[in-house]
């Protein structure tokens, strides 16, 4: 399938879905009433109008900014923590063994239940959302770095030793790149979870942010507002994901692409 056909078909899916949504919520097809009651399903025009109003008045920027800051902070703090602890555990098997059940327990806990605690501790500002995001990001990064350090090829390690590397040089030239490559390969997931943490945190109690916007709309049965918030959020995530893809391509140039032919 060539690019043009693919793009056309992809656009077609959107057009058909929107048209269906519009027709089903706006035209009385059966028994004088639309099949989908507009009160619960709104309709594409109202949603588009809501989005337009948000952007034209500029209200949305503040909320996007807050969510972005929360997600970014959650990602950075969670990643740094995950890298440090992952490294530490991988190099100290005894420590890892002691903490193992607690790490598993903490990871098994659905993080959403922590949100009220964080709100109590850290208030309604951004830090309670950052904390929630950190608990999500930390474990992804931690497990990947841990694995990355553990799974360094024994041959590569032996080679590094035979080439005369000291323990510190091994860290820098072998363990560190290996751990980073694992971390970067989970970049999409961890960045995604940072956003999830921010939005869910806002939804459960906040004064600003996309989650807050959706929650406010829901509170007054403004279904168009809920849908508008969802669309903006989806676009936001796609933009971030695209950036991550670009960053990833830069950082992992040394990695073979699956299906990449060797010269």
């Amino acid at each position: 399938m060539n690019r043009v056909t693919l793009l056309t078909l992809q656009v077609l899916v959107a057009v058909v879905s929107l048209a269906l949504w519009y027709v089903l919520t706006s035209y009385p097809l059966v028994g004088g009433k639309p099949i989908l009651p507009p009160f619960f399903f709104s309709n594409p025009l109202d949603v588009a109008h809501q989005i337009y109003v948000w952007f034209s008045t500029g209200v949305i920027w503040k909320h996007l900014y807050i969510t972005l800051i929360e997600a970014a902070l959650a990602f950075i703090i969670g990643s740094v923590g995950g890298v440090l602890v992952g490294f530490w555990f991988a190099r100290q098997p005894r420590t890892a063994a002691v903490f193992d059940p607690y790490v598993k327990m903490a990871n098994a806990l659905p993080r959403v239940v922590l949100a009220p605690i964080f709100t109590l501790w850290l208030g309604l500002g951004i830090w309670s959302k950052v904390a929630l995001g950190v608990t999500l990001v930390f474990f992804i990064v931690f497990f990947n770095v841990y694995q990355g350090v553990k799974e360094v090829s024994p041959t590569v390690l032996a080679n590094a030793r035979m080439l005369g590397m000291s323990e510190r040089q091994l860290m820098r030239h072998v363990y560190w790149p290996s751990a980073l490559s694992w971390m970067f390969s989970s970049l999409h997931t961890s960045v995604g979870f940072a956003v999830v943490g921010a939005v869910v945190g806002e939804y459960l109690g906040a004064a600003a942010g996309l989650g807050y916007l959706i929650q406010q709309a829901e509170g007054v049965f403004d279904v168009a507002g809920v849908f508008a918030g969802m669309f903006v959020l989806a676009a936001f995530v796609i933009v971030i994901d695209t950036i991550v893809t670009i960053v990833e391509k830069r950082l992992l140039v040394w990695r073979p692409v699956v299906g990449d032919a060797r010269p």
Binding site: S153, T155, V156, A158, N159, A160, R161, M162, L163, G164, M165, S166, Q169, H173, V174, P177, S178, S181, V253, W254, R255, P256, D260, R262, P263
Partner: protein, 280 residues
Amino acid sequence: MSETAAATAPARTNDAAIALNGVDVAFRLADGGVYRAVQSATLEVADGEFVAIVGPTGCGKSTLLNIAAGLLAPAAGHVDIFGQALATLNRQAGYLFQADALFPWKTALENVAIGPETAGMPQAEARARGKDWLTRVGLGAFGDRYPHMLSGGQRKRVGLAQVLIRDPKILLMDEPFGPLDAQTRQIMGNLLLDLWSADRKAVLFVTHDLEEAIALSDRVVIMSAGPSARIIGDWRVKLARPRDIAEIKLDPAFHDLHREIWQMLKSEVIKGYQQAESRT
């Protein structure tokens, strides 16, 4: 023409590049037992000598190499390197591994230059020398490629440059050309001989390919099938150097020697396979 190990052992035993004295290799098994891979191996490699170890699969030739490298400690016996007892890693040795051992996150040039760099040479100088070595192994134009962008043969060339740039006195090679196709192996063999003849390091070369062993080396050492593999034969290869791997295989002397060694090796190879089968 067959000579025993005693008859061919170099006279000056105390300054042999590698001296394995009654080395046992044993591994602890998961069920608590002990698997003895190699039993009382005694082998000397003189400085400047190219020795090949040939044996059936699973006979412990690679473990013997790891012992000489200091990556593995012998269960019994001791190892001397240039007359000095080997306690830790063998700093005098370069090791070319069978599996891919290049750093996948470094380019070919970075891989080659890493040895001098970690030894404290300024980066620019190390890179310049790295470039020089890449050229010597025929990869001058491939410095910025990552290992996955290179073919198997090219990766082996980078590996060779990575080891040789440090100018080790001893070269340990573990079936380095094993995964390559026949033509590439010949080319790599000639390249190796070419580089080796420049300064004649002591080489311990492990292979399961008898032809390769004879074509490359000064001495061929045969190991029996494992477990408790022993060194059971030691032949001197009296073929003139410089050699061309492809041409030397047509030499009648090559054939005679090959036939002679193969007589002994054949039964061990069969034994080796039977043991491997019964284990699976």
